[in-house]
């Protein structure tokens, strides 16, 4: 009934049409940095399309240098291929899917992190470009307001910055022509005039009296409700699905009281 329901509908419809999609609800309590985001996208959209990304992640999270003092004042540098965790770079499992190291990168210097993220982002979009050449790709983000650091105003966090600067900007600039992104939330960041051609607002319409009747009678099993009662309820909830749901809970509980001792 609400936006979350709608997003799930979108996802189901995409699945029905064979289009890869990813749905993230930012209220899930997880922190989404660049690596976590692209890993989640990869896993939802089909890991086999993102082998290059996994290789890039593995390269970024595996030892890359062996330093030795040659005794001549200079530093000897050679590229290592040592193993960390359970995966060696280039390790292929299941023929066409490469296993992820599943590490988080830490650095003393933000620039170092930024460079790694830039490299991974670039590879991710290369893979995505190849994927969307096959067919449309759908990104669905629920509870998007959680990507703002404050409740008032909009202060982007790492997740929103990446989605806006990297994903949405590529869509806007025409670099991703077959990708659709849906942001759903109580609040959203503002998009300037330069976004006008690619951004569309889809307000969720209030449900009708018929919707209320269907929900209560069919979904909640309250078939005895009269039309007058339905009309009264419809007027009271004023389109709030949450309120309607709780009213449904109340009415349902009144009809089928459970055993309190069980609790």
């Amino acid at each position: 009934m609400g936006k979350s329901w709608l997003l799930k509908q979108f996802a189901n419809e995409a699945a029905g049409r064979g289009a890869p999609s990813v749905l993230i609800d930012f209220s899930d309590g997880q922190a989404y940095d660049v690596l976590t985001l692209v890993r989640r996208f990869r896993d939802s959209l089909g890991a086999s399309h993102f082998n290059k990304l996994t290789v890039a992640i593995n390269e970024a999270t595996a030892p890359r240098l062996v330093i030795s003092d040659n005794g001549g004042g200079g530093t000897g540098v050679s590229f290592g291929n040592s193993q960390i965790g359970d995966v060696r770079i280039g390790d292929v499992a299941g023929r066409n899917i490469i296993k992820d190291n599943l590490f988080i990168v830490q650095a003393d210097n933000p620039l170092v992190i930024q460079v790694i993220e830039d490299r991974i982002t670039q590879v991710f979009f290369e893979c995505l470009g190849e994927l969307e050449a096959i067919g449309p790709v759908l990104f669905l983000f629920d509870t998007y307001e959680r990507t703002s650091q404050f409740g008032e105003g909009w202060s982007s966090n790492v997740t929103d910055r990446w989605i806006t600067r990297e994903l949405l900007t590529r869509v806007r600039d025409g670099r991703l022509r077959n990708t659709v992104v849906v942001l759903a939330g109580r609040r959203l960041p503002s998009f300037g005039a330069e976004w006008a051609e690619v951004v569309g607002m889809l307000p969720i319409e209030f449900f009708t009296q018929a919707d209320v009747a269907t929900y209560l009678r069919e979904n909640r099993g309250l078939s005895n409700l009269t039309d007058i009662e339905v009309q009264t309820l419809y007027s009271a909830v004023q389109g709030s699905p949450q309120l309607l749901g709780i009213i449904g809970d109340n009415l349902e509980q009144a009809v089928r009281p459970g055993d309190d001792d069980d609790w």
């Binding site: 979350s4 609800d25 209220s27 899930d28 309590g29 997880q30 922190a31 989404y32 940095d33 999270t61 030892p63 240098l65 330093i67 001549g72 004042g73 200079g74 530093t75 000897g76 540098v77 960390i84 190291n101 599943l102 590490f103 988080i104 990168v105 830490q106 650095a107 003393d108 210097n109 933000p110 620039l111 170092v112 992190i113 460079v115 650091q149 404050f150 202060s155 966090n157 997740t159 910055r161 005895n224 009662e229 009264t232 009271a236 909830v237 949450q242 749901g245 709780i246 009213i247 809970d249 109340n250 009415l251 509980q253 009144a254 009281p257 459970g258 309190d260 001792d261 069980d262 609790w263």
Partner: protein
């Protein structure tokens, strides 16, 4: 059923009417709880306390191990509970808020207890016994880059644990939150840090805790390099009244970090100092040590942004180049002495060559301050036993030693550092080797430097540190340049410029531009290479130019140097002329003016020493004496040119003025050059926009000449027709310069005639020579150009641009000095009469010009009549004594010609005799009687007119001060003339002379010479 629904609906509607807002929701939740039964309702209430729950959490909430899985599944039936996946569920936000409010209002103690239990639960699950989640280094022995196994659950549990701890025990909770945040922040796990703060923000916090949260949010912005947003948030925090001192100190330090990153060094140093004060007071040694290091970096950054060492123009001509070397050596003498006194282990100053140039003093002061903080940080780290910190601080000290020109000592120290344990970290090792490579480059050991740089580049590339990678590329460019590999050098510089541009690292980009400009201006560089360098510089979209001196001392330096020439002339005018007694023909003893070369040499040497002292004192004041706060306050402004505009920023980074190129209406310059290069201290350029606002660029600005080229290129690109109009002048390549040079040449020539090293032909018109020597000795040929350079042109320029400056005030002082001197001494302050009159008129002119500029700005049209009138009046005041002086000079010259003629046995010319009588005119006009009678007497005596001579000498005796040298001389000459025709009278005069010589001490020297002459006459 219908009845129940009916009453339910009635109650709900009446609740909606009586309360409104969320009342319907509240009513319905209440209904859910009422109809649920007490046990179920309690579970539903308790499940609102955690942000989410699963079956295990349900066990904690129910305090029962039974049926939790089943109840958890039953809870899915409620519409206000969402499934989060992973076996977790959460209430809808609004429902949870309503239930939490009920807890706070009705059962706060129980709520706290449940929070404690939940904290304990999450805390235990966060770090289950035996679990390890250690960071693993990606590069052996380097903590710079590492990975930790991904554990979404563990991170989530930590956040929830903190949330419940803050609710149960806010003080401890906030402490743990800060510690957890710091850990995530230092590892740059910003998404985790942000989410942690978001979760903490859901807990009820007091204003102090809210502010800490606000601070940490700003830190995440800083960590994400959203510096503008971060700065705004820190500034908002700092502006809050009664800010907690610790939070204030942390906020100041963080904001200073943002300012440092954005090149606002002066602001950064102030804030770092404020926070350091707090950390010291509270004994937070770690924070104090870190802040001291940052403070040092800020001062060094301030220095770097001011530019590298001044690169002087090196003349192409070899002789001029040697003269420049001698000049730099000369002004560097005090610093050579200081370096000797300090000894080789006390490198407090750079090599004398750097110290000698005033353009470097500000830089030295800033680097010295940076070094002082580095040294303090090093000591603090030593006390803390932090070897890594010590290494960082030590390396920076060594970097300054190398910058100061002591690259061999720096190399030895870096090699020692490389043997220490922290240097095993390849990242730090590469950075130390960068310093080592710079030492090798300074010693022109290019091969070793290139090996080190290649290795360092590989390391930084692998670490992904693009900033350091760009530094190495720049040094590789420098190495290639030194090796003469033009293509590689330009390629290296171009690459690093591009990197720094992308990074927005202006200071580093400017350093490369500095190297390129220095290369371009180096003698011997071919025109083709110069063109390529110029193209590379021109292609840079943004360029910064910074003044190289603090504003108040710049004026002092200007005035001191401007006064050098007039002071020298005045000193010579006082010291050089001496009066000698000379023996002429016919036994005549006469006085002659002699310009003593020894005195001139000694005076010039003393003056040079004095100026060296003044120069060194100014240097000492800037480098050591002036408080650093004043140095910071008086930081020079920054000029930034961009493709669309030129802007001027003050030292705090505030925009003072910006002018789009298309709006430039006039481009005026007041460049004062000796030959063709503008003198930095006395040149300026102004860009005026349509609104009449002037953007000034001082000549002291680094690469002033290149700024002009840059402006010209930008204006051309912008399609502007505005061209540079130079209202300045060239000191030597101009009429004024020719006049001054002529004046100095004539001064030498006249001095030689006056000293009788050259003989004036007896046929040469005495009047003409007197005129030339009078003009020469008056210094008019130098004073007139001086007035033009100091007053006429600058004030005209000031009027054109309507500048409000202090120069007229300075000129008033300069003009008042000779006028006062003339008035107080009655026109006799200087022994060269002509100079008394000329300096008086000059002073009046300067005063008049300054007065008009200062007080009659609106009546500029009256300038000419006022200045002309004042000068005319001054001329009228001195006209008579000037003419008298001239006539005296004519007679004095004629006397010399008579003496020359008689000396060769020729008869004096009639003209000479007539010219001798000019002395009478001079006397009639008020000139000194003794001198004029003596000249007339000398002329007559040398011509053999003894009685006439005796008469003049008699008058001279009467005019001379009693018992003076002059009186003794006049008596002798009177005796010498009288004895030719009256022996008895001469005997009486001789008695008088003997008596005078016997009693007068003043005349002792003259009497000795007279005694010798008397012996010659009587034998």
């Amino acid at each position: 059923m219908t009845g129940d629904i009916h009453s339910y609906l009635s109650d709900m509607l009446s609740a909606a009417k009586s309360k409104g807002g969320d009342s319907l929701l509240t009513f319905n939740i209440d209904q859910v709880l009422r109809s649920a039964g007490p046990r179920k309702a309690e579970v539903l209430r308790r499940c609102a306390i955690p942000r989410w729950f699963d079956a295990s959490i349900l066990r904690v909430l129910r305090e029962s191990d039974e049926s939790n899985e089943r109840i958890f599944e039953q809870m899915r039936e409620f519409s206000f509970i969402r499934d989060l996946g992973d076996g977790r569920m959460a209430y809808h936000d609004q429902v949870r808020q309503i239930l939490l409010a009920e807890w706070v209002e009705q059962r706060p103690a129980e709520l706290t207890q449940i929070h404690r239990r939940l904290y304990s639960y999450f805390n235990n699950r966060m770090t289950p016994p035996g679990s390890t989640r250690r960071a693993m280094q990606l590069v052996p022995e380097s903590n710079m880059l590492s990975v930790v196994p991904m554990s979404i659950q563990s991170d989530m549990f930590r956040r929830e644990a903190l949330y419940h701890l803050i609710n149960a025990d806010p003080i401890r909770g906030m402490d743990e939150l800060r510690a957890a945040f710091k850990e995530l922040e230092s590892a740059h796990r910003l998404a985790d840090a942000e989410l942690l703060l978001q979760v903490a923000g859901e807990a009820p916090l007091n204003s102090l805790q809210q502010r800490w949260l606000q601070y940490m949010r700003a830190r995440t912005q800083q960590g994400s390099l959203n510096l503008e947003v971060a700065a705004r948030q820190f500034e908002a925090l700092r502006a809050m009244p009664d800010l907690d001192p610790e939070l204030g100190a942390e906020t100041s330090r963080s904001l200073a970090g943002v300012y440092s990153e954005t090149g606002q060094w002066a602001r950064a140093t102030r804030l770092f100092r404020q926070s350091l004060e707090y950390f010291r007071r509270t004994g937070n040694q770690r924070a104090a040590a870190d802040t001291m290091l940052l403070l040092g970096e800020a001062y060094q950054g301030l220095g770097i942004s001011t530019g590298s060492w001044h690169v002087p123009h090196v003349p192409e001509h070899e002789l001029l180049r040697y003269m420049q070397i001698v000049w730099v050596w000369l002004i560097g003498i005090p610093f050579q002495i200081a370096a000797l006194l300090l000894g080789p282990h006390n490198r407090l100053l750079p090599i004398p060559e750097y110290c000698a140039r005033y353009q470097n003093w500000l830089l030295i002061r800033l680097y010295n301050t940076a070094r002082m903080w580095y040294a303090q940080a090093r000591d603090a780290y030593r006390r803390l036993g932090d070897e890594g910190g010590m290494l960082r601080a030590e390396q920076r000290v060594i970097d300054i030693l190398r910058l100061y020109g002591y690259h061999e000592e720096a190399r030895a120290q870096v090699e020692a550092l490389l043997k220490r344990k922290p240097a095993r970290d390849p990242y730090w090792r590469a950075w130390l080797e960068r310093t080592l490579a710079e030492c090798h480059l300074a010693a022109n050991n290019i091969g070793s430097a290139q090996v080190l740089l290649t290795n360092a580049l590989a390391v930084f590339r692998e670490f992904g540190d693009v900033r350091r990678e760009a530094t190495i590329l720049m040094l590789q460019g420098q190495a290639a340049m030194q090796a003469g590999n033009i293509d590689a050098a330009l390629g290296g510089f171009a690459k690093s410029l591009e990197r720094y541009r992308t990074l927005g690292y202006a200071a580093a980009r400017e350093r490369i531009l500095h190297e390129l400009r220095a290369w371009k201006h180096r003698p011997g560089v071919s025109e083709g290479v110069r063109q390529r360098i110029a193209s590379l510089i021109a292609a840079e979209p943004e360029k910064r130019y910074v003044g190289r001196f603090i504003s108040s001392y710049l004026r002092l330096l200007q005035i001191a140097s401007v006064m050098a020439l007039p002071t020298a002339l005045l000193l010579l005018a006082v010291v050089a002329p001496t009066t000698n007694i000379i023996s002429l023909t016919n036994g005549v003893l006469s006085t002659a003016i002699f310009y003593d070369p020894l005195r001139i040499t000694v005076a010039l040497a003393l003056l040079t020493l004095f100026y060296l002292g003044v120069y060194a004192s100014l240097a000492a004041a800037v480098i050591y004496v002036l408080p650093i706060s004043r140095i910071e306050r008086e930081q020079p402004d920054v000029i930034v040119t961009r493709p669309d505009q030129i802007a001027r920023y003050d030292s705090m980074g505030n925009l003072a003025l910006e002018t789009p190129w298309a709006e430039v209406r006039r481009w005026l310059a007041l460049d004062r050059s000796v030959w063709d290069r503008p003198l930095p201290l006395y040149s300026r350029t102004f860009l005026e926009d349509a609104a009449g606002r002037d953007l000034a660029i001082d000549g002291i600005t680094g690469w002033y000449g290149d700024v002009q080229t840059d402006i010209a290129q930008r204006l051309t690109v912008a399609g502007s027709q505005v061209e540079r109009q130079n209202l300045g002048y060239r000191l030597l390549r101009s009429k004024s310069g020719a006049s001054a040079v002529t004046g100095i040449v004539l001064l030498l020539l006249v001095t030689m005639f006056e000293n009788q090293w050259l003989s004036l032909p007896i046929w040469f018109p005495a009047g003409l020579y007197a005129l030339v020597s009078f003009i020469t000795l008056s210094g008019v040929l130098i004073l007139v150009p001086l007035a033009y350079w100091l007053a006429t042109r600058p004030l005209k320029f000031q009027h054109i641009l309507q500048l409000n400056e202090i120069w007229p005030n300075v000129l008033m002082v300069i003009g008042a000095l000779p006028v006062l001197l003339y008035i107080l001494s009655g026109g006799t302050a200087l022994s060269i009469n002509a100079m008394n009159y000329s300096t008086f008129v000059w002073g009046v002119y300067m005063l008049a010009e300054a007065f008009v500029a200062r007080y009659m700005v609106a009546l500029r049209s009256l300038r000419m009549p006022i200045v002309a009138l004042a000068t005319l009046l001054a001329l009228l005041v001195v006209a008579q004594p000037t003419y008298a002086s001239y006539r005296w000079q004519v007679s004095y010259t004629a006397k010399g010609q008579v003496a020359d003629a008689v000396a060769v046995g020729a008869a004096p010319t009639m003209m000479s005799e007539v010219n001798c009588s000019a002395a009478a005119d001079a006397r009639a006009l008020g000139d000194d009687a003794l001198s004029t009678f003596t000249i007339q007497g000398d002329c007559a005596a040398m011509s053999g007119n003894w009685e006439e001579a005796a008469g003049y000498y008699g008058e001279a005796v009467s005019s001379a001060p009693q018992n003076s040298e002059e009186q003794a001389l006049a008596l002798y000459n009177q005796w010498n003339a009288v004895r030719r025709y009256d022996r008895s009278q001469s005997a009486q005069i001789l008695v008088q002379l003997n008596n005078l010589c016997a009693t007068s001490h003043q005349a002792a020297l003259a009497c000795i010479q007279i005694a010798g002459q008397l012996d010659g006459s009587t034998h």
